[in-house]
Subunit: 78 residues, 7 copies
């Protein structure tokens, strides 16, 4: 067992994650922060982290720090 | 009687579950965690658990730890 | 008078209910549990309970324990 | 002046009401209960109560106790 | 300045108002009550109050006491 | 820096504002009041205030006091 | 790691940001303020700040102070 949702986010701070949104887009980047609403902060990857989710045409790697409001999120894959 | 919704989730930690989303997709995996919003953590199945829900073309077995935000969830079937 | 919504659910624990969802589907089963958000747990009927709502093509009798998130629910008919 | 919304519901417990939903349907029945979210319980009318709202093709008189989740409700007419 | 939204409603209790809903309909009537969610109670006008909003084909004057759930409301015009 | 959203509203009480709604409409008027949900009260302009937002065909200047429920609001421009 | 979402906003007060909305529009301006709902205040840029997000045809630089209600926001890019 991996723990509660926020525990999983805490354990993945600084690691690459893929955030899938309700509009179909997926953002990938380094998990810079989060809060209890699942608002997340993504940062450009440092180069050595690789999100495990498959990248397809609707996936965008963030080029600068990006705050995503939690109510848009479908799933977060560390 | 099986108990309240969160009790049922607690009793199924580590077991295979199928999570049906509002967009029609179903994710299956091992229930790694959850919280009071029905945010859930799915993990790749260890091999010996089998969700009971029928698998069809819109069902995806998670390949890595996946946090699903609760407001997307229609149903969870242990 | 039948009482407040949660009182009606409490009185019907273990009995057959039909849960109609916003997506048009109706799930029937034994009411295994509920909480204040109207999240409900349905279980396969034991054989002697029969929901009173009419069954049509969009009605599905649950084959295993199913947690339904309350915000999908339109109505619950004991 | 008739009072606050919950006061009006309280004053109409046991009386016939029409509940119009966001999906266009209208349910009529006897008001069996309610709570602060405007979740309501409708019961088959005892025979002597008559909701004042006009009945049209999308109006359904409940045939058994029905809990309606408040977030589907547009209006309630005693 | 007219005051906070609930103050404006309080000042208009018993007066004619027009309530515009998200589905495009507008209900007019006498403001019988309200609460902090902007749930409102409309009553048939006593005859001497006249809502100031223009009446068009989608406007309906309530013929009996009507509770409108606040989350349907776009605007209220005393 | 202009301050938090509610501070900006407070500072503009009595001044002309344009309120853009999710349905595409824009209402202009004098800001008569507001609350923490961004419910706002617009009043007919006194004549000397002029909202800065461009007026186009979907813009309506309120002709009487209008309460707008906050969950319809996209933006408010003093 | 960059910190929690509100910390990132706090650190960017007075700097240029791009706010992407659910309706597809993107507003750019100087971050004048924010609150815990991710309601934000944008102000016309002073001239020396430049949001990092790409500007395309759906991007609008605010010409006057603009309050954006948080529930419309998809992402904020400092």
């Amino acid at each position: 067992m991996s723990g509660r949702p926020l525990d999983v986010l805490e354990a993945n701070l600084g690691d690459g994650v893929a955030v899938r949104l309700k509009d179909g887009a997926t953002y990938t980047g380094e998990l810079g922060g989060y809060d209890q609403h699942l608002n997340v902060v993504l940062e450009p990857a440092g180069g050595d982290s690789e999100p495990s989710a498959g990248e397809d045409e609707a996936t965008e790697t963030v080029e600068s720090t990006t705050i995503i409001r939690g109510d848009n999120v479908v799933s977060i894959t560390p």
